[in-house]
């Protein structure tokens, strides 16, 4: 098998697994894990964009200039993307702490319900009459089932 193909499978695999984690998980921490995995996959894909086998790292050591150097641009981009990712990760975890403190749960469905309730309370309307009414009813039925 081609090495390049394996690398791409890894990148797209991480992207798919991360997306699945974000879309299908119901626990907020799990969703944040999904975001981190998705970002890792995207970073790998970006680095692979112009990778060619047989190149060497884009660093001149002791005045020795390699014949084929790897493309330094995606490396710089991935560097940037990794640091951005960790900043957002920290913020996401801080928010998760706050949400848990406020609602006592990190289950996405419960958080959504409490959020709807909060918005409805603040506006002074009954919850079932809100726009998400059909969904809320469905959710409750799922809960009973």
């Amino acid at each position: 098998m081609d090495t390049n193909l394996i690398f791409h499978i890894a990148a797209f695999g991480l992207i798919l697994i991360g997306s699945a984690g974000i879309v299908l998980s119901t626990h907020l921490v799990r969703i944040i894990f999904g975001i981190a995995l998705l970002e890792a996959g995207a970073n790998l894909l970006l680095l692979l964009a112009t990778y060619r086998e047989g190149s060497s790292a884009p660093v001149i050591v002791d005045g020795h200039i390699p014949v084929i150097m790897a493309d330094p641009v995606p490396q710089a981009l991935v560097l940037t993307a990794i640091v951005i990712g960790v900043g957002i990760l920290a913020l996401a975890l801080s928010l998760a702490l706050r949400v848990q403190r406020a609602y006592g749960t990190l289950d996405l469905r419960e958080v959504r319900q409490r959020l709807e309730q909060d918005i409805a309370d603040e506006a002074g309307i009954e919850l079932p009459s809100s726009i998400d009414a059909p969904q809320a009813v469905v959710k409750r039925q799922e809960g009973h089932a």
Partner: protein, 483 residues
């Protein structure tokens, strides 16, 4: 002209130093931020007047494109950069506990918004976009209520997903072309991105940047965030930031992605946005979420308009976008005190007659009643849509008309509540002076534009012509041809 970078650098350095300035003198801390925004707005306007028909490009770091990062300023870019600065100034955060942090964030929002409008490098756009996203999280969570934390976290999840998708799209573009400079991409696109991979990259970036532009499948955050964020922040996000995301998508369409399928995808998603947004707004029972959903509908109209190929689409879309840019922040300012259910607004017309009058003016323009600017913007979109003479574009026109009918229904339902006599309920609180003054100012701009409609339209058409001209972009940036 290399002062262009100051539009980003000045607010940024002020933001870095603001906590220190505030520690030295609370007075200086209070006024430095607005002062800097006045300076950048003035700078932007002076750059605009120098600009004329010739766009300029600034090579950051002194590296010739495509090696370095380029800032590209045409009239459209500077227009939106100034809009961000002015918008942040008008909607300067004034509530909550941790004010210095909020002011810092607002300054960064002004810097990153201007940069987003000006940037001419694909990855740089991504970084700016993430910066705008992180700033918005901070500003929304500044409300410090349980709901705002939960809404911010849900927004963060959607937005991070979108950003990762956009990054994937950028990786695909880089894989196919080996460059990130938009001008050089415009040169290479016809040969190297005019294929399925290019289309996939566009769809990924559309999903990614569409999150902030309230694009149909990735707009689940909109009602929650606008209902729980501080109203001024909601006004900024819906009014200004969403247009910036749209601006990027338009730039990408003009320069890089020329597939007809790309326009079709945008058209379909825009139609879905209008349908879902207006229907949800019609069913909404509280004021904030009503205008939040109506904002999804309006942005759907913009997506439909920008899906019209060529200059005509940009002209029409820009007209709707500028109209919405003025109307939506004003509506959110009114929502500061009218944050309750629609039925609790009974009698608001007597407690705050000015606010009620402003709302009716805004509503009329939003629906598109002549002679208000909203009418002309919508008319423009409808005319251009019908000229396309294709079923999907006719459908778009029909959906916009049906949406206008729904809008008329729900907005007038609210307006008639204002003058209801409901003995059981006490009338809602009167509007606060600063909010009312800002909203009046925006309404004055809206009403004033009726009298200068012809020159204004000519001006917007000029901006659109310039923005739609990919050759002009390439010539201005003038990237070196690499072996």
């Amino acid at each position: 002209m290399n002062k262009l970078a100051l539009l980003v650098a000045l607010p940024l350095i002020t933001a870095f130093l603001l906590p220190l300035i505030n520690r030295a003198s609370a007075f200086a801390g209070r006024w430095t931020g607005p002062l800097i925004l006045v300076v950048t707005s003035a700078l932007g306007i002076s750059l605009w007047t120098q600009l004329g028909d010739n766009a300029v490009a600034v090579e950051l770091g002194g590296f010739r494109p495509p090696l370095g990062i380029t800032l590209y300023a045409d009239q459209m870019a500077i227009l939106f950069a100034v809009a961000v600065s002015l918008g942040t100034l008008l909607l300067w955060p004034n509530g909550g506990e941790d004010r210095v942090r909020q002011w810092t964030l607002a300054l960064i929002l002004a810097a990153s918004g201007s940069g987003l409008a000006l940037s001419g490098d694909l990855f740089n756009i991504y970084v700016f976009y993430e910066l705008v996203a992180v700033v918005s999280y901070g500003l929304i969570a500044a409300r410090a209520s349980a709901g705002s934390y939960a809404a911010t976290l849900r927004y963060l999840v959607v937005s991070s997903f979108g950003a990762a998708m956009a990054l994937t799209g950028i990786a695909l573009v880089y894989q196919a072309t080996g460059t990130l400079n938009l001008a050089q991409l415009a040169q290479l696109a016809p040969t190297q991105l005019n294929n399925l991979q290019g289309l996939a990259a566009f769809v990924l970036m559309l999903i990614g940047f569409g999150v902030k532009a309230e694009l149909f499948p990735v707009n689940t955050w909109v009602p929650e965030v606008y209902a729980t964020a501080p109203t001024r922040v909601s006004g900024l996000l819906a009014g200004v930031v969403s247009k910036l995301a749209l601006l990027i998508i338009v730039r990408l369409l003009v320069l890089v992605f020329h597939q007809p399928e790309a326009l079709t995808v945008m058209l379909v998603l825009g139609i879905m946005g209008v349908i879902t947004g207006e229907l949800a707004a019609w069913r909404a029972r509280d004021f904030k979420r009503m205008i939040a959903f109506s904002s999804i509908g309006q942005l759907g109209i913009m997506f439909i308009a920008f899906a019209i190929p060529g200059k005509a689409g940009i002209f029409a879309g820009l007209a709707v976008a500028l109209h919405h840019l003025v109307v939506k922040p004003a509506l959110f300012l009114l929502a500061e005190r009218w944050n309750g259910s629609l039925s609790s607004l009974a009698g608001a017309g007597r407690t705050s007659p000015l606010a009620a009058a402003l709302f009716i003016l805004l509503a009329l323009s939003l629906i598109g009643v002549p002679p208000l600017p909203g009418f002309w913007a919508k008319l423009l979109v409808l005319v251009e849509l019908s000229e396309q003479a294709q079923p999907l574009y006719y459908l778009g026109a029909f959906v916009i008309l049906a949406g206008a009918a729904l809008e008329a229904n729900y907005l007038f339902r609210v307006a008639s509540r204002f003058y209801d006599k409901d003995k059981d309920q006490k009338a809602p609180a009167a509007q606060r002076m600063p909010d009312l003054a800002t909203a009046s100012l925006l309404c004055a701009v809206l009403a004033g534009s009726i009298f200068v409609l012809t020159p204004l339209a000519a001006q917007i058409e000029g901006i659109a012509t310039q923005a739609a001209d990919a050759t002009h972009y390439i010539q201005t940036v003038n990237p070196e041809t690499l072996p």
